[in-house]
């Protein structure tokens, strides 16, 4: 076994592409990834965002050596992804995980522990610990086929954690979890970060990404359209403000000459969206014209705005899925 170099970045991928061949004659192709670069440094929490079919799961499957890239290279801790021993450092939670349903939760996590190189009392203790952490201690003796979706998700998370990984790769970790479970998942990820664990995860829940990530990438149609630290990306964003105005008609507001993102008349009220830079001018104008400002609030999560802008800029007819060629 080659030594795992300690200063090599946990994840490093260059020019990854994946073209799936489909159809009976394998003559149709779906381009799931096109030239993706990804670098995740030690101790980072890195988020992958993107619409359905953007290539998030494909990226993760390449990193876990489940599918082979059609082009480009991917390394974990400086080793090629097909190097089995490196995965000793990695915990993986797939999308819609399916553990062996004839095993109990405890049996499955124990099996996962054996595969991660643990054994004996240490394994026993660790299994109890991780099952406790995902609150599955009560149901650990039940066969997995008797579990609900969220319970399966929890056991699958436990099996990812059992080997004390230094890198966690999580594909939609909060899917299927109840509100409390989502909160616990967030706390778990933060606790892992405090231990120095690196985390790569993808999610559709923007507040989660915003709350957890140091850096993120937005994928659309298999290409990376945004990348950077959350701070950078969000502050580069022009936020919009939502305002509800009374005592003025829609055309009266429009005559104020302040550029509006959108304007809509509701009975007796006007609903406005304006960029943050213009919001003070609009406020002054409305009040000066005798209007009453009922409510002012940031229009969306700024990350959500970023996401929407990225989709719009990608210039694709639909944001869903990769390019399909027949």
């Amino acid at each position: 076994m080659q030594p795992v170099s300690p200063d090599a970045p946990p994840i490093q991928a260059q020019g990854l592409s994946k073209t799936y061949k489909v159809g009976f004659w394998l003559n149709r192709t779906v381009r799931a990834l096109q030239g993706l670069d990804l670098q995740v440094g030690a101790g980072q929490i890195y988020g992958l965002l993107g619409p359905n079919g953007a290539g998030k799961s494909t990226t993760i499957k390449i990193l876990m050596n489940l599918v082979r890239p059609s082009g480009g290279t991917a390394r974990l801790y400086g080793q090629p992804v097909d190097h089995a021993a490196t995965r000793r450092l990695v915990g993986f939670l797939p999308e819609n995980p399916s553990p062996y349903d004839y095993l109990t939760g405890r049996e499955f996590v124990t099996l996962a522990g054996h595969l991660s190189g643990l054994s004996g009392h240490d394994l026993d203790r660790r299994v109890t610990e991780v099952l406790g952490a995902v609150e599955m201690a009560g149901a650990e003796k039940l066969q997995i086929r008797r579990y609900s979706k969220g319970m399966v998700q929890r056991v699958a998370l436990a099996q990812a954690l059992v080997g004390r990984p230094k890198l966690l790769i999580l594909d939609e970790p909060t899917s299927g979890l109840d509100p409390l479970g989502r909160r616990q998942m967030r706390d778990l990820i933060l606790a892992e970060r405090d231990k120095g664990t690196t985390v790569l995860f993808c999610s559709h829940i923007i507040p989660d990404v915003e709350a957890l990530c140091d850096r993120l990438a937005v994928l659309v149609g298999g290409r990376r359209v945004r990348e950077g630290s959350v701070q950078e990306l969000v502050s580069a964003q022009v936020p919009t403000v939502e305002m509800v105005v009374e005592n003025l008609k829609l055309d009266q507001v429009q005559q104020l000459g302040v550029p509006l993102e959108s304007a809509q008349a509701l009975d007796g009220r006007v609903l406005l969206q304006v960029s943050d830079t213009n919001s003070q001018r609009l406020l002054g104008g409305v009040l000066g014209a005798g209007g009453r400002v009922n409510r002012v609030q940031p229009a969306r999560f700024s990350l959500e705005q970023l996401f929407m802008d990225a989709l719009k800029e990608s210039g694709r007819a639909t944001s869903v899925g990769g390019e399909i060629n027949t």
């Binding site: 489940l66 082979r68 993986f92 819609n96 553990p99 054996h114 080997g163």
Partner: protein, 255 residues
């Protein structure tokens, strides 16, 4: 327990919790026992009939159980995506595949042993002779099942459970008939048929080589050399099938 043993042991545990294995095992035992009810005890070929029927039942039922189990070993895991949680651990795909085969062979060893015990106690009960060839035949059956299992794994490394089961069944019959086809082709006038018979004989495992059941039935002996060479022949074919399966399996995508 290391990773390989844990995976192999889990395969055995899976089989024990699998209704099909349990039901087939129970069914085979019932069939074995029922032979005593329908056989006329006064017939002077009683020993032969009992051995023939007992070993024949074992081999047929276990061969089909093996086809069913082995053709799903990889493909079912890929279909259900249970494999994601296994090969994402620090084990190679080769280790996973060989551990699945080992777990399956452990299950089949236990079944062969259990049925042999039933068969022998039946012989004892009726005071029929127990011969070493009967044991050799049971052991030979296990090697035949090893070849079948590795073929099933090979097919299931690139196709679904149904297609794998069909292909493995085909191989089972062809493997038993290959020797006959070779003999028949030898007497053909047509050189093409002769060549075809020979080619088939060499590209297919000759499962008859591990079949000592007729010798057990007629109470003939099998010398150690013959048995060992048959066992080695089975292991060699299993190794070939497994190597091809590994080659394919290491390279394929799991989607």
């Amino acid at each position: 327990m290391n990773a390989f043993t844990a995976m192999a042991w889990n395969g055995f545990r899976e089989a024990r919790r699998n209704k099909v294995t349990v039901v087939v095992g129970a069914f085979a035992s019932v069939v074995l026992l029922s032979s005593t009810l329908v056989t006329d005890v006064t017939v002077n070929t009683f020993d032969r009939v009992l051995t023939d029927f007992g070993l024949g039942t074992m081999s047929l039922i276990l061969a089909f159980l093996t086809i069913f189990l082995s053709s799903g070993l990889l493909s079912r895991e890929i279909e259900r995506r249970t494999i994601f949680l296994m090969v994402s651990k620090p084990v190679s795909r080769t280790q996973f595949l060989v551990a699945r085969l080992a777990g399956n062979m452990l299950t089949l060893a236990v079944l062969v042993a259990a049925m042999t015990l039933i068969f022998l106690s039946q012989l004892l009960m009726f005071g029929a002779a127990i011969t070493s060839t009967q044991l050799v035949a049971a052991a030979g059956l296990w090697f035949e099942l090893l070849v079948l299992s590795s073929a099933g794994i090979l097919f299931s490394s690139f196709s679904g459970p149904a297609v794998s089961a069909i292909c493995t069944t085909g191989l089972y019959f062809a493997g038993h008939l290959a020797g006959d086809m070779y003999e028949i082709a030898k007497y053909s006038e047509n050189p093409l048929v002769q060549t075809l018979g020979r080619v088939l004989y060499y590209v297919l495992p000759n499962l008859e080589r591990m079949n000592f059941r007729p010798r057990a039935t007629y109470a003939l002996t099998v010398d150690a050399g013959t048995f060992l060479s048959a066992a080695a022949y089975g292991v060699a074919w299993a190794a070939i099938f497994t190597a091809i399966a590994v080659f394919i399996f290491e390279r394929r995508d799991f989607r």
